[in-house]
C-alpha cells in the first residue's frame, strides 16, 4: 500500500511556538497527555479558530469562550466526521435528495429548488452535541476522539419538515424506522458507510427538519452543506450531514453504526421516546441528551480583581428546557441561583450569568449546575459507560483573585 503523504493537513496552523503556553486556556488538563500534545488551534476552510483533534477525517471542536454567546456562529461551529471522504463543494453542486423505501408508497426525488419552493419553511433553534462531547475528560480514559467541552453548538436551523417530505412519498402503516444516508463516505470500500435511522414516530415530529440554512446562512461545507437532518434533543449522531437519501423502512437498520457504535447500557440514561426497534436487552442506542451546563467565562486559570467577576455560560437538556442554573464560588459548598438569559426554546442553549461580588485574594473555585424543567440534574459523579458518552458532571474551574 502506498503512503498517501498528500492526504494530511486540512487546516492552516494558526499558532505554533506560542501554542504550548496557550494550551491551558483552551484545553482541559484532564485530557490525555497525547491529546494535549497533538491538538492545535487551526482555521479550517470557512472557519475561524477551532481546536483540531484530527484533520483526516476532520474533527474540530469549538473553544470554550465561543459559548459566551448562546447562538454559536457558523464559523465557530464544531466539525465531526467519522470517515475521510468528505464531498467537495463542487461535487455537492449536483446535490439531490431521494425519499423512498420499502415502507413508502413511491420514490420521489427533490432538488434544492423543490425544497425551497414547494414546502413550508420552518425554523427551530436547537443544540447539536456530539454524543462523545467531553469523552476526553473521562477517568479512566475511554479511547476514541478525545473531545473536550466544545463538540457542540446551538444554531437557528431553517428548512423543511421531515414529515412533509415523507408525506410526498407516502408512509405505509407497517413503517418501523426512517433510514438516512449522506454524501460523505469511507476511504476503503470495505468500511461501512455512515448510516443512521430514527424511529418512525420521531420522524413525524413537527420539529424534526431537513435544514438548508443555519443562522440565516447556507450550511457551512463542513457542517453538512447543502442539507442536513436536525433532530432536536437527540445527540448529533442522528443529524446526518450532506443528506442525500431517506428511506422509510419496515425493518430496523443493521450496520456497525447502529448496532455496535453509539450505544449505552440499557436504562442508564432517561428517555421520553424509546428507540424500541434498536434496543436489545443489554444496550440501547444513545438518543436524548442529558441536562448539562458550561461556564464560558472566566476561563480556567484566569486572574481576576478583588471586585470580582461575572460567570457566563449556557445550559441545555433534551427538550424540557432549563429551570434553574446555580453557581458556586466556593468549590461547591454553597450555591446561588444565576440569572437566566432569553428563552430561545426548549432545545436551545439557555444563557446564564451571575456576578461574584467582592472576593478575598487567593484561589476561587467556580462551578455551575443546571436543573431541567423535568427536574433532572447534572451527575454528581461521572456515569461511566463503555463508549464515553453523556459526560455531564459539573465543570470546576479555578481563578486567582489578586
Amino acid at each position: 500500500m502506498q503512503r498517501r503523504t498528500v492526504l494530511a493537513g486540512l487546516g492552516s496552523v494558526a499558532a505554533t511556538a506560542a501554542q504550548a503556553a496557550q494550551k491551558p486556556n483552551w484545553m482541559s488538563p484532564a485530557l490525555p497527555d497525547g491529546t494535549r500534545d497533538e491538538a492545535i488551534l487551526v482555521r479550517p476552510p470557512g472557519k475561524q479558530s477551532l481546536i483540531q483533534l484530527t484533520d483526516r477525517p476532520p474533527n474540530y471542536e469549538t473553544p470554550i469562550n465561543a459559548f459566551a454567546n448562546p447562538i454559536t456562529a457558523n464559523d465557530r461551529f464544531f466539525v465531526r466526521y467519522h470517515l475521510a471522504a468528505v464531498p467537495t463543494m463542487e461535487e455537492l453542486k449536483d446535490w439531490s435528495l431521494t425519499v423512498g423505501g420499502d415502507a413508502a408508497d413511491r420514490a420521489v426525488k427533490f432538488a434544492m429548488a423543490d425544497l425551497k419552493k414547494n414546502f413550508t419553511q420552518v425554523e427551530v433553534t436547537a443544540v447539536c452535541q456530539c454524543s462523545g462531547n467531553r469523552r476526553g475528560l473521562f477517568d479512566p480514559h475511554v479511547p476514541g476522539v478525545e473531545w473536550g467541552y466544545g463538540a457542540m453548538g446551538n444554531a437557528v436551523w431553517r428548512g423543511v419538515r421531515l414529515k412533509d417530505l415523507l408525506a410526498k412519498a407516502g408512509v405505509k402503516s407497517d413503517a418501523v424506522e426512517v433510514w438516512f444516508a449522506g454524501a460523505d463516505g469511507p476511504v476503503m470500500p470495505a468500511t461501512p458507510p455512515f448510516r443512521k435511522s430514527l424511529p418512525v414516530a420521531l420522524a413525524q415530529r413537527d420539529d424534526v427538519i431537513v435544514a438548508t440554512s443555519m443562522n440565516g446562512q447556507p450550511l457551512p461545507h463542513l457542517n453538512g452543506f447543502p442539507a442536513r437532518l436536525v433532530v432536536p434533543g437527540w445527540t448529533g449522531t442522528y443529524w446526518m450531514k450532506h443528506l442525500t437519501s431517506i428511506e422509510v423502512s419496515t425493518k430496523p437498520m443493521t450496520n456497525f453504526w447502529v448496532q455496535k457504535a453509539y450505544r449505552v447500557p440499557a436504562g442508564m440514561f432517561p428517555v421520553d421516546l424509546p428507540f424500541a426497534s434498536q434496543n436489545d436487552s443489554a444496550t440501547w442506542p444513545i438518543t436524548e441528551m442529558v441536562v448539562n451546563s458550561l461556564i464560558a467565562a472566566p476561563l480556567d486559570g484566569a486572574k481576576v480583581g478583588r471586585s470580582g467577576f461575572t460567570v457566563r455560560g449556557v445550559a441545555w437538556d433534551r427538550g424540557h428546557g432549563i429551570k434553574t442554573v446555580e453557581v458556586s464560588f466556593d468549590g461547591g459548598k454553597t450555591w446561588k441561583p444565576a440569572e437566566l438569559g432569553r428563552d430561545l426554546g426548549n432545545y436551545a442553549f439557555r444563557s446564564f450569568s451571575l456576578a461574584s461580588g467582592a472576593l478575598p485574594p487567593g484561589p476561587c473555585v467556580v462551578s455551575a449546575r443546571a436543573v431541567s424543567n423535568k427536574g433532572e440534574t447534572q451527575a454528581v459523579a461521572l456515569v461511566r459507560n463503555p463508549a464515553g458518552y453523556h459526560h455531564n458532571v459539573p465543570q470546576t474551574l479555578t481563578v486567582t483573585v489578586a
Binding site: M1, V6, L7, A8, G9, T35, P45, A85, E146, A261
Partner: protein, 89 residues
C-alpha cells in the same frame, strides 16, 4: 476511488504526514493506519492504552472498519503502538 482522492486533495493544504515516533513498525503503521485516517488518532489516544487496549483498537479497525491487514501486520502494529504509545512506565 478517484472521486475520493480528488475530493480529499482539494480540501487539504499541508503536505506533511502527522508525525509518529520512530521505532520498529513505524513504516507499517504509517502505510496502513494512515491510509484511512491521520496518525493523530494514535497520539490523541496516548498514553493510556495498554497492549490489550491497542490490540482492541487494531482489532476494531479490522472487524468493524474493514481494514485488510493480516494477523502478522496487525501484531506488528500493536507491538509498535504499545511500545511507543503505551502507558508510561
Amino acid at each position: 476511488m478517484m472521486r475520493i482522492l480528488i475530493g480529499a486533495s482539494l480540501l487539504l493544504a499541508s503536505p506533511a504526514l502527522a508525525e509518529v515516533k520512530p521505532g520498529p513498525g513505524q513504516d507499517t503503521v504509517e502505510a496502513n493506519c494512515a491510509a484511512c485516517h491521520t496518525t493523530d488518532y494514535i497520539r490523541m489516544n496516548a498514553p493510556f492504552l495498554t497492549q490489550d487496549g491497542w490490540k482492541a483498537e487494531v482489532g476494531k479497525m479490522r472487524t468493524a472498519f474493514g481494514s485488510p491487514i493480516d494477523d502478522a501486520v496487525a501484531a506488528e502494529i500493536v507491538q509498535y503502538l504499545a511500545t511507543q504509545y503505551g502507558p508510561k512506565k
